[in-house]
């Protein structure tokens, strides 16, 4: 039976998207309920008869993080999926087919319902600084996976940025990643297909090697994101619409009923939030299992490790989505101890320390230079001693001369407020010293081969830049030339 798919292109605050309605589908890809204990819900992402990912949470707990783990590999569903997923990627990212046409083979495999499909930048990380292939083989709560994020609130829309792998780690080979990296260097666009699971996390259905290649070489990784439109928004309390549903929502967009055709609305209303696939019994049985990567001699490349550390985490992303803009004046007001500006506008939040932490996260993602300056000002302000611990933890992975100077100041200071931070400061000093030495060595090694290697990685280039700073020993220059690995990769690509 061939599914009926209807597509409407629309535009929302977070960008353009396709509103896709699927009916009469065989439901090859979807999410089903595999709960086994009352009070605890377990949902499973499946493809064909394979259970790929489990999501577990307490019932009626929208604001708590989900426990997410990988149960199997999508490779086992290849018989059912065929080559449709890679072809969709190839057609769309190769530029030969528009999204609305390219996505059809995948849309036909989705379970009945309404979906929002859009393209956006994603990170192959778990939102806590771990490469995605390392993060989901142990059951634990995943940061930023709660459907409701109190930092972002109800009003803002965002594109879920973090990925959960569906392929087993055996799919990662240096050769495959190398081949994908070569395509990147040759100017070919690589991407993937992701299916939204919960909060800021989506399951990567296709493009694992591409994601690894982009992470290794510091390129942006874009995905076709499929988000089931299955959350509802109620009328204002006290209004005539109280207790009535007035709009549909997913992280990327909120759509009022008057913007959706009646046919699509009927499709939404007739479909239950939990579908029952044909192979339900098999999927439920497999949902009890957990994917084991076994004892693999392979390890991810150090370039991936380095670049993943530089990628934003869930708190940074949440702050970035929550805050539209922070001017220097706003930051000065916050540093003066106030949460409202001279016009009475609340800059971030009425809670002062909440404002400081959100501002720190926002700046760390959006503007590294201002982040370091603001963090330095916070750390040297005795009135903000309550925020020292949080800011120090944010700074400890940022290798920068000014941060090093700050931590040296903390180590030498007699101020009791800094006492709990001494350990972090000493560790940072050691890490920074190793980092500088490593950069010098890499610079010396790479300078001999740099001319012959046109396809150098962004991470290596970052190291090179750092080593130049180290050799120069001029902190003001270092301050002016601090880039994230991703920014740097763009500069290299432009060159």
């Amino acid at each position: 039976m061939k599914a009926n798919v209807s597509i409407e292109p629309l535009r929302g605050p977070a960008g353009e998207f396709l509103l896709v309605s699927v009916t009469n589908s065989d439901g090859i890809i979807g999410i089903c309920d595999t709960s086994i204990k009352s009070g605890i819900r377990r949902k499973s992402l499946y493809a064909g008869g394979e259970c790929l990912i489990d999501i577990q949470y307490r019932e009626n707990s929208d604001d708590t993080s989900r426990v997410i783990w990988q149960t199997s590999s999508i490779d086992k569903a290849k018989v059912v999926l065929g080559t449709k997923l890679p072809k969709v990627c190839e057609n769309y990212f190769g530029g030969s087919t528009p999204l609305s046409k390219a996505i059809m083979p995948v849309a036909e495999m989705l379970s009945n319902g309404i979906y929002v499909i859009h393209v956006g930048k994603v990170y192959p990380s778990d939102g806590a600084g771990n490469f995605f292939w390392d993060a989901y083989t142990v059951k634990h709560e995943i940061l930023g996976s709660a459907p409701y994020n109190p930092v972002i609130g109800d009003g803002k829309c965002y594109s879920p940025p973090f990925l959960i792998p569906t392929q087993s780690f055996s799919g990662y080979t240096e050769n495959a990643v190398g081949a994908a990296a070569e395509k990147l260097v040759n100017g070919k666009k690589l991407g993937g297909i992701a299916y939204h699971i919960s909060g800021m996390h989506s399951a990567l259905l296709e493009g694992h090697v591409n994601a690894a290649a982009c992470a290794a070489n510091g390129y942006d990784f874009n995905c076709i994101n499929i988000e089931p439109l299955n959350r509802v928004i109620y009328g204002e309390p006290g209004s005539i619409d109280e207790n009535k549903v007035v709009a549909l929502a997913c992280p990327f967009v909120k759509i009022a009923f008057d913007n959706i055709s009646r046919r699509m609305l009927e499709n939404f209303l007739m479909n239950r939030s939990v579908c029952v696939p044909r192979e339900y019994a098999e999927i439920k049985w497999k949902a009890d299992k957990m994917l084991s990567n076994g004892v693999l001699s392979r390890k991810i490349s150090s370039a991936i490790d380095r670049n993943i550390e530089g990628m934003p985490d869930a708190e940074m992303m949440a702050s970035a989505y929550a805050i539209d803009e922070l001017t220097d004046n706003d930051l000065n007001v916050l540093l003066s101890g106030s949460t409202t500006d001279s016009d009475g506008r609340v800059i971030i939040s009425q809670n002062f320390f909440e404002s400081i932490t959100y501002a720190i996260n926002f700046l760390q993602l959006k503007d590294k230079r201002r982040f370091i300056d603001f963090a330095d000002s916070v750390m040297r302000n005795p009135d903000l001693a309550g925020a020292y611990g949080y800011v120090a933890n944010r700074l400890k992975y940022v290798m920068d001369a000014k941060v090093n100077e700050l931590f040296r100041f903390i180590s030498e200071s007699e101020d009791t407020n800094y006492a709990p931070l001494k350990v972090i400061a000493e560790r940072y000093a050691k890490a920074y010293s190793d980092y500088s030495e490593g950069n010098v060595k890499r610079f010396l090694n790479s300078s001999s081969s740099a001319a012959s290697s046109s396809a150098r990685s962004a991470a290596d280039a970052l190291m090179e830049l750092g080593s130049k700073r180290g050799l120069g020993g001029d902190t003001s220059m270092a301050r002016d030339e601090t880039y994230s690995s991703l920014e740097l990769s763009k500069r290299i690509a432009n060159k």
Binding site: I36, V232, K244, L269, N271, S273, V276
Partner: protein, 289 residues
């Protein structure tokens, strides 16, 4: 929430120009507008099923869905299963459900049907329902019945004593006659009960579409149930904590729930060898009346 795997559907009520959709939400489309009124099931204040219609009331609106608007009996079962499944566990709803041969679906909750479950499928036979109904009423009023019988016997004896002749000579004869009058009165009352049971079954036949449906009967470690086969998903049960007591008749085992509904499990649908196991299973979890 229970029966959440059943797919939703729409009911067109042409006489009111309305289209209802039941699923995770209760939605009403006015045929002149494309924007529906969509309600959460948790906002329902009253749920009623009468012989000819369903009525669902919210704080500011009330909807009546005539049974003749449904395409067939299966759709009626489907509707009430989704609605009652979504309303299960909600304490603020007033339920007014009458003439149900099996327990309403708001008694059910999601459960794990392990391998230890006993299941059987079939349609009720009249004698099973009748014997169940008689036993159910009898179990409720057996003390008054035999109280009346005993009282009648005593009164008869007093009457015979007062108006009879040769009392000393006929004493044993009067006692025997009084005893049989008591027995007779008790039996007449019992026969009236049987007539009521038949009448009740005729009522079920007219008013409850489940009477003629194939039913799946389940007795499992987590609970029990009698569910129409057309909507049976294999993951919903009435927890044992909802059972008040059970009684056994010649034809069936009837479990009485806390909401006074009765789950009557016909013995004949189980193999002879497992009938005792099922009975033991039930008696180890619920008190026998």
């Amino acid at each position: 929430m229970a029966f959440d795997a059943l797919s939703g559907f729409k009911i067109v009520v042409s006489q009111y120009n309305l289209t209802y959709i039941v699923g995770d939400y209760f939605a009403v489309f006015d045929d002149e507008s494309d924007i529906p009124e969509v309600y959460e099931w948790s906002a329902v204040k009253l749920y009623e099923e009468l012989a000819d219609h369903f009525r669902i009331a919210f704080e500011r609106a009330e909807y009546t869905i005539p049974k003749k608007s449904f395409v067939d009996n299966t759709q009626i079962i489907h509707f009430r299963t989704i609605a009652e499944g979504m309303l299960s566990g909600q304490k603020d709803v007033v339920f007014n459900v009458k003439n149900r041969i099996i327990p309403p679906k708001y008694n059910y909750s999601n459960a794990d049907l392990s391998n230890n479950a006993y299941t059987a499928t079939g349609v009720y036979a009249e004698k099973e329902i009748n014997s169940g109904s008689v036993s159910h009423i009898y179990s409720k009023i057996k003390i008054p019945i035999w109280g009346i019988a005993a009282l009648t016997a005593v009164l008869s004896f007093i009457a015979l004593w007062t108006f009879g002749k040769n009392i000393e000579k006929n004493l044993i004869f009067y006692v025997v006659i009084s005893f049989f009058i008591g027995i007779g009165v008790g039996t007449v009352i019992y026969l009236i009960l049987c007539i009521i049971a038949r009448y009740r079954y005729a009522g079920f036949l007219k008013k409850d579409v489940s009477t003629v449906e194939n039913l799946v009967f389940v007795v499992a470690p987590d609970g029990f149930g009698a569910i129409e086969q057309c909507i049976y998903c294999g993951k919903e049960l009435i927890p044992w904590s909802f059972a008040k007591y059970f009684y056994e008749t010649k034809y069936s085992i009837a479990i009485v729930c806390r909401d006074k509904s009765v789950c009557c499990i016909p013995k004949r649908l189980f193999q002879k060898s497992t009938q005792n196991d099922v009975l033991d299973y039930i008696s180890s979890r619920v008190e026998q009346d």
